[in-house]
């Protein structure tokens, strides 16, 4: 990577876009009921952050996302380990999984509502089901592709099965698993918002839907910006964790 230099054109582009947006709103080319100016959007965001009304929904959505995601990661890793190292498990399970995988995750919302009602467990179940696939597929790949020489080393060191698993298998599959987990987290955020909108569970998803229903467009845009920031932060923190956890890798 080149040394970071000030990217003048990029700044110009962003400023240009914001100015266009502001002018559009200023001259009311689109009714301000639908299209608030960026200044108004950011002021609303700032006001809501200052008076504290932004934080509870943000916390709710974040916790919801993480709950479902942790569930998905645990299930995905265990199942992935099973399928990755056992040919039998692969032959019995994989066709069923192949059928379930392209099923849109939100399609099981009505099923989950039947079983759990309009509750937080419903949302956790939906998020877990929807976000399990990337981490599962990555784990299968990671566990199936372990360098055989590493296992030979483990055998010649007379490591027990648990030791081999802990010291060799899991670290070797880690890069794949973590990459899958990152994709899973972005899906978890989407499904957290979806379940909040569908089942009126507290959080940013419900927040922006209510803002739309009462035509508070600045609040709606501010919520969308906030969700973008949340998505960015979630991804960035996992990239950071990946870098720390995989420091032992040569590249």
């Amino acid at each position: 990577m080149k040394a970071r230099k000030f990217n003048f054109e990029a700044v110009l582009f962003v400023v240009g876009l914001l100015v266009c947006w502001q002018l559009f709103a200023e001259f009311k080319l689109i009714s301000p009921i639908f299209f608030p100016s960026p200044a108004k959007t950011l002021t609303t965001l700032y006001e809501r952050a200052a008076d504290g009304s932004l934080w509870p929904p943000l916390a709710n959505t974040t916790v919801r996302m993480i709950y479902g995601w942790v569930f998905a990661c645990v299930c995905g890793m265990v199942l992935g380990l099973l399928i990755g190292i056992s040919r039998n498990a692969r032959e019995y399970l994989e066709p069923s999984l192949e059928f379930l995988r392209p099923l849109p995750a939100s399609a099981i919302i009505p099923v989950a509502i039947l079983f759990f009602g309009l509750s937080d467990s419903m949302s956790t179940a939906v998020i877990a089901f929807g976000s399990v696939w990337p981490v599962l597929l990555a784990s299968i790949h990671g566990f199936a592709q372990i360098e055989p020489r590493l296992l030979e080393v483990a055998a010649s060191l007379r490591l027990t099965r648990a030791q081999t698993l802990w010291k060799i298998v899991i670290p070797a599959a880690m890069p794949d698993v973590l990459a899958g987990a990152r994709v899973s987290l972005s899906i978890a955020l989407i499904l957290a918002i979806v379940t909040e909108m569908q089942a009126s569970l507290p959080g940013l998803g419900q927040d922006i839907l209510l803002a739309q229903r009462s035509f508070k467009s600045a609040q709606l845009y501010a919520g969308v910006v906030m969700l973008g920031l949340l998505g960015f932060a979630a991804n960035a923190s996992l990239v950071w964790a990946e870098r720390r956890l995989l420091r032992w890798r040569p590249n």
């Binding site: 032959e91 066709p95 392209p102 099923l103 939100s106 039947l114 989407i190 467009s217 709606l220 969700l227």
Partner: protein, 250 residues
């Protein structure tokens, strides 16, 4: 037991257990229904045309969104792929927009378009835009530079250059991005319907659940699974059949 048969063991056992458990009264009928009832509800849905109509509405929105995303994604992608200066100027803006979860735009699109096809198609388009854009940029970057030099020596016009050099050379990778986008388009279309839009399979499933017709709901769920699986298999074949797409991931 041959390998292909093993894949059927789990689903078949599950179905038998489901049917038997339901007949024995161990499973609550109003939430778990029963395979035989689900099958009947599915047949009825096909007979009166309600399932096919809902499927068409879902696919219509998915395809319209996909088309919008393809046109804008490929056009912008080619521009940014050819000019690294333009790419570096727009990259921070794109990076800031990309983490916005597509579903966060549902209320926004609802405010602008109201209920209906356009609401769904715009949210689908936003979600599909990113993989297409990124794959197009990568595809154009991957074009053999000598080909572009040839275009320059032949003094081809912009349109000729696109038609004769850039699009054919980039098509293989582009198809891979497109395939990702096809899968995303169905998922997002159904999501918008489940959340709010009163049309398509997602919405008829929610309606069936709310009117306590779990048999109808499961029938549509299984059908949706089949549609998703078929779409996936079809696009996979299409990409593989394309020159340059042989190495496409499954």
């Amino acid at each position: 037991m041959p390998g292909w048969l093993k894949g059927w063991v789990l689903p078949v056992l599950l179905f038998i257990g489901w049917e038997a458990g339901s007949r024995a009264g161990w499973l609550p009928l109003d939430s778990t229904s029963r395979p035989s009832l689900v099958y009947k509800a599915g047949l009825d849905g096909f007979k009166d045309g309600s399932i096919l109509q809902a499927t068409w509405q879902t696919l219509e929105a998915a395809m319209l969104g996909l088309a919008l995303a393809t046109v804008t994604g490929v056009a912008i992608g080619i521009m940014l792929g050819l000019s690294s200066r333009m790419e570096s100027a727009t990259r921070p803006t794109l990076d800031a927009l990309r983490p916005i979860p597509s579903v966060a735009l549902i209320p926004l699109a609802l405010m602008l378009f109201g209920f209906g096809l356009m609401l769904e198609a715009t949210v689908v388009a936003f979600a599909c835009f990113w993989p297409i854009l990124l794959m197009t940029i990568a595809a154009v970057r991957g074009i053999e530079p000598r080909l572009l030099e040839v275009a320059r020596t032949l003094e081809l016009g912009t349109f000729e250059r696109l038609k004769k050099i850039i699009l054919p050379a980039a098509l293989g990778r582009l198809m891979i991005g497109l395939r990702l986008a096809v899968a995303i388009s169905l998922v997002v279309a159904v999501t918008v319907e489940v959340v709010i839009n009163p049309r398509g399979l997602g919405s008829t499933m929610m309606a069936a659940q709310q009117s306590l017709r779990s048999d109808v709901m499961y029938a549509q769920l299984v059908w949706l699974g089949l549609v998703g699986w078929l779409l996936n298999a079809l696009t996979h074949r299409a990409v593989r059949a394309w020159p340059g797409g042989e190495g496409a991931p499954a």
